[in-house]
Subunit: 202 residues, 4 copies
DNA sequence: TATGAATGAGCCTTCATTCAT
DNA sequence: AATGAATGAAGGCTCATTCAT
């Protein structure tokens, strides 16, 4: 069962190299980056990429899955830090924004995928599920604690995560084209918080 | 380029056909749609597309400009309808959302362009300018009237249009992948209004 | 018979404009220069070029004919200047070289045509005839006078013009790629004369 | 690019096939021959040509280099045959002429390149260097031996190779359009020799 | 006479994918 | 497990040519 020597292990390593390289290259040069570029970045041959992944689309799906995990982990880590429920929510939102402001490759790839998804049913479904999961997570992990505190939502609570994520991703795609200046940033974050809290009544 | 006098009417017509076809095709099949597809949709030859536009990128820029004008006109028309300032803003926002919910080709193309802009300096600049203009317009046309009414912004007023447009575009890209249900829609719009108004204090 | 007004005349003018422009453009940008470039240089439309000439090849043939006439006229003018037969020959050779050294458009086009002729039977024939005529002219006009002076050729006299023209055109094509320096030029011309005269015995 | 060790033998073979086919096709149909024609002649796909060479221009440069080597080798082989210095020079010249008379593909391609070089800086430089090298070789290998024999040049010795190569290449391009007849050939070669030797005094 | 418009064939190039090794 | 080699489809673009006006 266990890999005898380095054989099996080597493969997993290479596969991961491809995955990492793909994330970087896709983020840097767009989803139209060629398999060759990825192979170069991974230090492997073009053939190897297709050895590990059936097709470019297949690779893309795995990159997406990986990126989602990474992002989710980071956001949850921020949320799991100590503090009151409101502080925890605030920390999570700050992290979500920071990833977008800094152009984290995971976010870049995901925003590009939204465009591509319209032409790719599988990808559309995958992205849709990821999005629903993210919203569900925000709802269960973040909002329930607020509700438990006595805050009552002014609108159907399901739309709150939708609005929050939309605002963040919208800021991200605009930021790429017309960057938020450091001077604006503080006000912007305050704006997000104000609007977010406005959805609840004390 | 432009016909001197009366000119051959056919040319302007054909050019417009190409432009219209391009908008539709780009919206439908993504920006990677081939020139051939556009030519087919326009009922012209591939050569003709290049007769009217120097390159695919050139065509794309014209499509962008055209799309911006169209969207701006529609939103302004909604705003210019009768009503109190708040009603006017509400109508404008409703229109902005409707265009996104219905997948208007202009909006689709523009959201795809945000992805492409990262790899295309010209496009990035063009989109950036368009975005700044849109924000400026919202600020001057919409928000000033609210301020004039005595509403005072809780944050730097410049970030308000940024937040509003970001939320709308974010909703649009998510909607394409995980549609807002009719049931959600009312709550969603109310959420947008609530958050928007929360940025002001009476 | 005579053109009534300016109608006919205008046409001849335009035709000549095209011809002149073609000579210049072909010399400058090679025979692969586009019809559009020529039309631009002529200040006319692309359609006009095809109105005056059946095809690009047709135009090329006329350019060739025109160029030959021009060159022949210049060389003959040099030869017809005053002087002894040897001086006249020397003057003609000097002119032939000067045209090549200075990259006269007529010469440039003709040397490019030699390459193209291999793929174009008509052009091959046209160039062949032009070449035979040039050789005949040198033979009759130039060499006969030397023979009449008592100089006797050391080889069949028909090969003398061939050698002379070959040397000149060879120098021309090499000159374009590895220019003859002014310092070399005097020696080069002396070399041509020495070798030329060596073909005769006093 | 180059196979590291033993490599896949097929690759080097295929690459050579492309090179050979390109030489033939370029010579036969001119430098404007399409990559497709070359691929067909090589028995490979169009994609394969681009697998082995970055671009058509790249291929052309390699063809040029290859052609130069071939020609140089043949001429040197003729020169290296036994005989007195004068006989050796004569043999080399005879070979140079024979290649041109027979329309050797290497020569055809090179003469076509002279035309193309005017529009292609890289090619111009490459051809210029090749020409200078050829002249230098003639000077060092051929002429020095004549000088060593006591023959003294009548003109700066550097122009002698220029004149010789020019005459040969000039004959070549004219020959393609107005062939040297077998009857003329003997006289022609004698003419070349006479003129060549006339540049020296005993 | 002259031209703007339109065309279609052809070209170079890119690239995901396959396969023998 | 990994890759070099090869392919074929597709794409953007150029351009000589035709034609109605």
């Amino acid at each position: 069962m266990k890999p005898r020597r380095s054989g099996y292990k080597k493969s997993a390593e290479s596969r991961q190299q491809v995955l990492d390289a793909a994330l970087t290259v896709f983020a840097e040069h767009g989803l139209s980056a060629s398999v060759q570029e990825i192979a170069d970045a991974a230090g492997l041959s073009k053939g190897s990429v297709h050895y590990h992944f059936d097709s470019k689309d297949d690779l893309l799906e795995h990159v997406l899955a990986h990126a989602c995990e990474t992002v989710e982990a980071r956001v949850r880590a921020a949320f799991d830090a100590e503090g009151t429920p409101v502080e925890k929510v605030r920390a999570a939102v700050a992290t979500m924004w920071a990833l977008r402001r800094d152009g984290a490759p995971e976010i870049r790839v995901m925003t590009e995928l939204y465009a591509q998804a319209r032409q790719n049913a599988r990808m559309k479904q995958a992205l849709g599920e990821q999005l629903r999961r993210a919203r569900a997570q925000i709802l269960e992990v973040g909002l329930q604690s607020l509700v438990a505190m006595g805050l009552r939502p002014r609108v159907a609570i399901e739309v709150v995560p939708r609005l929050l994520l939309a605002a963040l991703d919208g800021l991200a795609i605009h930021h790429a084209v017309d960057p938020v200046t450091p001077a604006e940033e503080e006000d912007l974050l305050r704006g997000v918080e104000v609007t977010f809290l406005a959805l609840f009544e004390p």
